[in-house]
């Protein structure tokens, strides 16, 4: 499989008053046109890994890698304007809460058109047509109406579909979805994932799906990376999750209460200091 993305020994650290915080400590993986899941508990470095690929690492942080390359482009040596051009056009990111990513004072349709026009030379008329088509692609039933609404006028599930529409309108080759459905109800969550799934396979995109929910990730992705303390502790095909070798992965799987199994007390995770070495 041709490699869309190569991440080799990625490190991100933050200087703080109490010393340096190493958020990402040597993460390596490659990605083709596939669905890759990144799971781990909060603070394990998932978002900072995604943000580093996007070029959204905060300015005061230190970032380094042996290789951080998208389609042969060395991202760490690329200029700010090159990275801006990539972002949104060829690489896009969806965040957990659309409230923070959508502009509250601009209609939904307008925002999608603006995103498109930042990267492509299209007329307002064509922009409108493509925005409407995209809203339809994320299964918004009445795109004409939603086009004229403001973000606060739509539900969480609808807002997340709008986000997906906005992120996919330029036809990116790589999509990073950071907890894209964690704020949604389970049934809505699956509807949104089904839309994402369909678009990813139809358009032949690479997808990095970041989540704390190991069960959801493994049901959705081809391959899963498990992070702990800024490192990858295990990488395996989703289908082989039951054969996970690392005690952290096993612990994460076992500690979940499931319908129909009765384990009282639930097995708890015994953290070993060596996992974080």
């Amino acid at each position: 499989m041709s490699k869309l993305l190569t991440v080799d020994d990625l490190r991100v650290s933050f200087p703080t008053r109490t010393g340096q915080v190493d958020a990402v400590r040597g993460v390596s993986f490659t990605l083709g046109k596939e669905r890759l899941g990144i799971v781990g508990e909060s603070g394990s470095g998932k978002s900072q890994t995604g943000r580093a690929i996007m070029g959204l690492t905060p300015g005061h942080a230190k970032i380094s890698a042996k290789t951080l390359a998208f389609d042969g482009i060395d991202l760490l040596s690329a200029s700010a304007s090159q990275r801006r051009a990539l972002r949104g056009k060829r690489v896009a990111m969806i965040l957990q809460d659309p409230k923070y990513s959508l502009n509250p004072v601009m209609t939904i349709g307008r925002q999608i058109i603006e995103t498109l026009r930042t990267h492509e030379n299209v007329s307002m008329k064509e922009g409108r047509a493509r925005a409407l088509a995209m809203l339809e692609a994320v299964q918004i039933r009445d795109p004409e109406r939603v086009f004229d609404l403001y973000p606060h006028e739509v539900s969480g599930g609808m807002g997340q579909r709008v986000m997906i529409a906005m992120m996919l309108v330029c036809g990116p080759e790589l999509l990073i979805a950071d907890e894209p459905t964690s704020a949604l109800d389970v049934t809505v969550q699956l509807e949104v994932l089904a839309i994402l799934d369909k678009l990813v396979s139809e358009r032949g995109m690479g997808l990095i799906f970041i989540s704390h929910d190991l069960r959801l990730v493994s049901s959705f992705c081809d391959r899963v990376i498990v992070m702990y303390g800024g490192r990858v502790v295990e990488e395996l095909p989703s289908a082989n999750l039951a054969e996970a070798k690392h005690p952290y992965t096993q612990g994460l799987l076992n500690c979940l209460p499931t319908i129909g199994t009765h384990r009282h007390p639930l097995p708890v995770l015994e953290r070993k200091p060596e996992w974080a070495l």
Partner: protein
């Protein structure tokens, strides 16, 4: 059948014209662990809050341990019987108070004098040593805060705990620890639980029966056995059950 711990009959809660609870009834038996599931906005928190006297209710009745309550009026005795634990330990515990103050407050209100013994015992019961007593709550992790919130709820030795998504903000591994702690406390003290969660897995693990809510109404009330054996009648319950099994490509 054991006695009724708590009974809600035809409860209606309105915010302006909006019916957050629309004719809701649940009956919880003494010693039972009773679950409430449903999508966000379905009225789960409103129901617990109305029981606890944090919301008023327009009509219907509420009976707890044989006593009827109306509106938001609750006697001091009520809080000796019923305590509540919230989802967000960041919101429910004042960040600039020490653990000691947080645990002392309910004891002082109810006139207890053996406070040192009780605080030490409460911390011990939730698996935090006495070393935590003079920490500020903002110095604690999410899981530790939830342990303090549980200690605070248990310190008055209530009979009934109302638990509103007590583990939804926590990582899976911490959730398991808190669920185990709650089960142990229930066993040791013969508590009755009314537990709200959007996670059917958590409810089926913790409860014997559950009510499914949607849009302020009860969809149905079933036993966890019936849920596991697919012996329920509503499509919505099935949708929740299927969704809890993860993503399916078809």
């Amino acid at each position: 059948m054991s006695a009724s711990a708590l009974s809600v009959r035809n409860m209606v809660v309105a915010f302006d014209d909006f019916l957050a609870l629309d004719d809701v009834s649940i009956d919880v038996r003494e010693g039972e662990s009773f679950g409430i599931v449903g999508e966000s906005g379905s009225g789960k928190s409103t129901l617990l809050r109305a029981i606890a006297g944090l919301n008023s209710f327009e009509s219907g009745s509420l009976t707890v341990a044989g006593t009827s309550y109306r509106g938001q009026t609750r006697s001091k005795d009520f809080y000796r019987t019923v305590q509540m634990v919230f989802q967000d330990p960041y919101g429910s515990l004042h960040p600039r108070q020490t653990v000691d103050r947080l645990l002392l407050e309910p004891l002082a209100i109810h006139g207890f004098t053996d406070v040192d013994v009780r605080i030490a015992r409460a911390l011990d019961e939730v698996g935090l040593g006495s070393g935590f007593r003079f920490r500020y709550s903002h110095q604690l992790s999410g899981g530790q805060r939830q342990r303090i919130a549980i200690a605070r709820a248990l310190i008055l030795e209530p009979k009934i705990l109302l638990l509103d998504e007590p583990t939804s903000a926590l990582d899976a591994s911490i959730q398991a620890e808190i669920l185990n702690l709650l089960e142990q406390a229930r066993k040791d003290r013969g508590l009755t639980f009314v537990m709200v969660s959007h996670d059917l897995g958590v409810i089926s693990h913790m409860c014997e029966r559950l009510t499914v809510m949607r849009k302020g109404k009860v969809v149905e009330t079933v036993s966890v056995d019936a849920l596991e054996n697919r012996a329920f009648s509503e499509d919505y319950t099935r949708a929740l059950l299927v969704a809890s099994e993860g993503f399916r490509r078809d």
